[in-house]
Symmetry: C2
Subunit: 156 residues, 2 copies
DNA sequence: ATTGAAAATGAGAATAAATCGCAATTAAAA
DNA sequence: TTTTAATTGCGATTTATTCTCATTTTCAAT
């Protein structure tokens, strides 16, 4: 059994919850995917692989995985909740291009440190955080300069 | 005419959009509210005040206000998009207590600076950012210590 | 192994948030 | 004014997610 399963099982046991085949399947699929995903995508992917578990179970399992600390919700992008791995995937923050949707991941030790310091000052025990910066990537900045009429999404 | 209206009007004119009474009403209501709000709340509030504009118009106007820079989406909290003022309300980040839902606002000049620096390095032009830290406030940390069976939301 | 209680499941109905289509209306530039 | 593109309201629709509940399953204690 791999490490993530052990963690999840442990988490579940601690709260009197069960490590069912369905939950196992979701966990497995989650960690076979790379990058961000949402509940529906995961369900479809499982379906494609002939793993027949209900949407409801997928929707019920993902929040448990979040609470177990294995995954986290990402910044909300287009109306649906999306997730990313935490386990085995060092923490990082995001830049999100408003123009083309590109995601740039980054990590700043200094920012992390400052955050922790601020939390300490407030007596706050941080569990998880998200920093998302919206803006325009290099390419989209160039594109925008060439338009006459300002597009709705222009930064200017 | 107040400053926010001037800004919004200007923004709209620049893209060939119109400063209609409905948009004016939404803008007005937005800035009469304090703290976070969502589309439905705003609609209800307007309805209560006998300002009869359709939900659709509210939903259509809020994104425009975001694009104008007057307001911003907040961290997603419970499935619906919520907003907060930007104009006249200095930017701030959030700590969100998982236990009781309390929101602590804070601002760190140092973090802001670091963010800008990182963006520069990536050729990214930031427009807006959100930093949200989830965790447990002082009180909830105390409460948790006293429980036997771990609640679903426990940090441990 | 058996059992029993609590928890989980699937299927689809239900809800909630947000968007869309369209005919009628309106803002604002000419 | 006139004109024209933009906007409105309404309700229908879509999309995401949650809920209901009868049935099944897990797991700890026999």
């Amino acid at each position: 059994m791999d490490k993530t399963a052990a963690i999840f099982k442990e988490f579940l046991k601690g709260r009197g919850l069960k490590f069912t085949p369905e939950r196992k399947a979701v966990l497995r699929e989650v960690f076979s995917l790379h990058r961000h995903f949402d509940a529906e995508t995961l369900y479809q992917e499982l379906y494609r692989k002939k793993v027949r578990i209900s949407r409801a179970s997928v929707y019920r399992t993902l929040p448990l995985l979040v609470k177990s600390g294995l995954i986290a919700e990402t910044l909300r992008c287009q109306g649906k909740t999306s997730y990313e791995h935490i386990y085995g995937h060092g923490h990082h923050d995001h830049m999100l291009c408003i123009g083309c949707g590109k995601v740039i991941e980054f990590r700043s030790e200094k920012i992390e440190k400052l955050q922790n310091e601020i939390c300490r000052r407030h007596g706050f025990k941080p569990v998880e955080h998200r920093l998302g910066i919206k803006g325009y990537c290099r390419e989209c900045q160039r594109k925008i300069k060439m338009k006459k009429k300002l597009p709705l999404d222009s930064a200017e």
